[in-house]
Amino acid sequence: MSIVTISRGSYSRGKEIAERVAESMGYECISREIILEASEQFNIPEIKLIRAIHDAPSVLDRFTYGKERYIAFFRAALFRRLQKDNLVYHGLAGHAFVQKIPNILKVRIIANLDDRIKEEMKRENISADQARHILVKDDAERRKWSMALYGLDTWDQRFYDMTLHIETMGIDDAVSNILHLLKRPCFQTTPQVREQIDNLSLSAQVAAALVREFPKVTVDSGKGIVFVSVRGSLVDEKRITEKVGFLTREVKGVKKVNVNIIPHLIEY
């Protein structure tokens, strides 16, 4: 009864490790499935979702809130899967969404750039320069994405429980290390963690229901009571409250919705 997220750069062999861990534990191993589910559930083109959780937000995104919307959908789909437990997730941005859940094992796989270039050249049939260019750009983009949206640097070791350098230990050792850690009680899904995931999932479902109308929505919930913060004019408080109630009426598990209007933000 555990959940593992594996964060990795492209061609770092993270997928292979994730599959081996899932197989050993009898867990489900997912990556792109979340994007497909979110795409289907919220009727969003898959490519837009991939870009939203991969590319750093542009200046225009700040005004259009495209990223916020797609990320909310992705997050809702991810948490729905996390609720099922026994899972290894090795797709994009997993670690960013589960930072607050201590019992989820967060692993970072790193590899030498030269090895990754070789792997990419082999798979994509491109030159070394091209491969290098793509990988460096890709890493930088993911780093910027995480920094812009969550203030997290994907390369910062503090956000992971374990960082494995694939060149020094190889895949077998990496898998063995992860499996060993997974047996520790601190990485077991306890009833408290389950409740935390349920609450976060409910928050994510509510946020996904509201984000089209209120792009800067933040949601917190506990035992079915949902606290929604949306920005807006206090003149519109009644209308916004009614709208939030209307949009969340079909989200399963919502018992009560409290709406907090944020009329302004002033930084000194």
Binding site: P215, G232, R239, E267, Y268
Partner: protein, 589 residues
């Protein structure tokens, strides 16, 4: 670089460019709301700008120039998120009354004087801001603001009645005479004007109820114009707006000569003061709804800069506008960008569709402004204030009445002075409460008038012991002796005293001496460190006696009561204090 350094740099940047404080809140949703509010504001300010410029004795386009440049700078450099600055009635009147004796209104010389006066008023306001005199805003209480807003709303509505009825009543700045004029002309109501105004008002109300997010006021004005067109209202005496000149504010230069400054500085001072009072009162009034904290100093700087910049672009002195700020807030503006958009839209209107404005009927504008005035009255807070406190209600009523019957700035002064008077009166009368031990809860003391104990009394003073409060406290302490002559031992629980000045300290010493003369004593417990320091530094603690100061009431009682040798105590049958009961039990049979 250390994160702290970055934070300091960002903080410094936000201090210099205050619009960076709210910039991170801007997004497409806020821009959309601000665009709507800006568009409505630009339409609303058209007739106002014209009218106010005429009141100030200037050609009408100067009002519009002021409505473009002044709000833009004030919004970016001020503190309020919703305040819309620009031409206002009060300042227009003051400018006219100050400068019309010096030069012919509307003349080149007059315009030059107005521009120089505007520059000087801006400089005064800017200096006030730098000198951090924005603290003055803290003396304008919520009741004053609510009363002032309600009064101003009624004044605004009154000023529009003649337009709504289409009667040729002469404009007046006095509430009474305005209604007198309306009363005299009431038989000449123009039913076409009234229909247009009523239709516009009904549409505005309808939009507010059914489609609150839509720019209802703007649509209502368009519908009002269509009604006027349908009724052929113009030929039936309904006034339309005048056609406006098609150009942006031209560059101007204030007169920096010493003679001009010497002549105009005294005249600029009241303009600066009124502008600040108006702007701050309105900003606070809107902030009461929007829950924003207003930085008075920043608002002063914003107002000052707006007038300084305005004087270089053919503007006359502006300040916060009640009507336009109210509309801005109620149409859903979320950031000062609404003021920027309003300025941009007004410029576009001037450049592109200035001639179209002549189709806008003035009664339609009047109808819209009536709704805005109604929305400005904060019925909820008026009810709360009236229910909660008679004193606050009196402040509200005074400010409200003064706004209606005297000058706007006087109304604020009256409210502030009354608030200060009541505050001083409150602090000069600290509450002095009799305490007795709580029989259910050992160590706790509760307020009670129990007079069982003939020899010892505990009182708690809640408030500062300063020169203004000493008389009241002395009166209370002496009244104890009058009513209960044997209670010459007194323990003062000083936990509610935050501050003691020299007069207060001397009062305590005198009280200790007096009580000792009566064969009693004075004891103090729960002294706060500040108060203790004052007593110690002045040598008062020695005079009262260090051994007469205790930490808690219990501590004091356990030391004082066993030593009391009062004849009354011997005859006491039902001791009030535990310590007395213990003493009784310990007596040999």
């Amino acid at each position: 670089m250390a994160p702290g350094n970055n934070q300091n740099k960002a903080s410094l940047r936000r201090k210099i460019f205050p619009f960076l404080r709210w910039w991170n809140f801007v997004g497409w949703d806020t821009v959309r709301s601000d665009l709507m509010a800006g568009l409505t504001g630009a339409i609303i300010v058209l007739p106002q700008g014209v009218a106010f410029a005429m009141i100030a004795g200037l050609p009408m386009e100067y009002g519009l120039y002021t409505a473009i440049v002044v709000p833009l700078v004030a919004a970016l450099f001020g503190s309020s998120l919703h305040l819309i600055s620009g031409p206002t009635t009060a300042i227009s009147i003051v400018i006219f009354s100050s400068l019309s004796p010096v030069a012919a209104p509307g003349s080149e010389e007059y315009i030059q004087l107005v521009i120089t006066l505007t520059f000087l008023a801006g400089v005064f306001q800017f200096i006030f801001g730098l000198a951090r005199m924005g603290i003055l805003v803290n003396f304008v209480s919520h009741s004053v603001v609510v009363g002032f807003t309600a009064g101003a709303a009624i004044l605004i509505a009154t000023s529009q009645i003649k337009h709504v009825f289409g009667i040729p009543a002469a404009g007046s700045h006095s509430f009474f005479s305005a209604w007198m004029n309306i009363g005299q002309e009431i038989s000449h109501i123009n039913k076409y004007a009234l229909t247009v105004a009523a239709g516009t008002l009904a549409c505005a109300v309808g939009f507010k109820i059914i489609r609150p997010r839509w720019p209802g006021l703007l649509f209502a004005m368009i519908i009002g114009s269509l009604i006027a067109e349908f009724l052929n209202a113009e030929s039936n005496g309904v006034r339309l707006m005048e056609s406006l000149p098609r150009h942006l504010p031209p560059v101007s230069m204030p007169d920096f000569s010493l003679a001009a400054i010497r002549e105009l500085a005294p005249k600029a001072f009241p303009v600066a003061l009124i502008g600040l009072i108006e702007a701050l009162s309105i900003a606070r009034s809107i902030a009461a709804h929007s829950r924003q904290m207003i930085d008075g100093n920043q608002e002063f700087i914003g107002q000052g800069l707006s007038n300084i910049c305005g004087s270089f672009f053919s503007c006359y002195a502006g300040s916060g506008s009640f009507t336009r700020s109210g509309i801005n807030y109620h149409t859903g503006a979320m950031t000062p960008l609404s003021a920027v958009f309003s300025a941009v839209f007004l410029s576009l209107i001037l450049l592109l569709i200035a001639p179209i404005t002549e189709f806008l009927p003035i009664p339609a504008m009047g109808g819209v402004i009536l709704l805005v005035a109604f929305n400005l009255i904060d019925f909820h807070h008026i009810r709360v204030i009236v229910k909660t406190s008679k004193q606050e209600a009196a402040i509200l009523l005074t400010t409200f009445a003064a706004t209606l019957f005297f000058d706007l700035e006087f109304a604020i002064y009256a409210g502030v002075l009354m608030s200060l008077f009541l505050y001083l009166s409150r602090t000069a009368h600290p509450e002095v409460i009799n305490l007795v031990p709580d029989t259910n809860n050992i160590g706790r003391f509760i307020p009670s008038e129990d007079s069982r104990c003939p020899a010892f009394k505990i009182v708690r003073i809640d408030g500062s012991l300063f020169f203004g409060a000493v008389n009241h406290v002395v009166e209370f302490l002496q009244a104890i002796d009058k009513n209960l002559p044997c209670k010459c031992n007194l323990l003062i629980s000083a936990c509610g005293i935050n501050f003691i000045d020299v007069t207060g300290a001397e009062m305590l010493v005198n009280e200790a001496r007096r009580r000792r003369g009566l064969r009693g004593d004075l004891y103090i417990c729960g002294l706060k460190q500040n108060a203790r320091n004052v007593l110690k530094r002045g040598g008062y603690l020695d005079k009262i006696g260090e051994d007469h100061i205790f930490v808690t009431e219990m501590d004091a009682l356990s030391h004082i009561l066993p030593t009391l040798e009062n004849p009354e105590c011997r005859a006491c049958k039902s001791p009030l204090y535990n310590e007395c009961r213990k003493k009784e039990e310990e007596k040999p049979l």
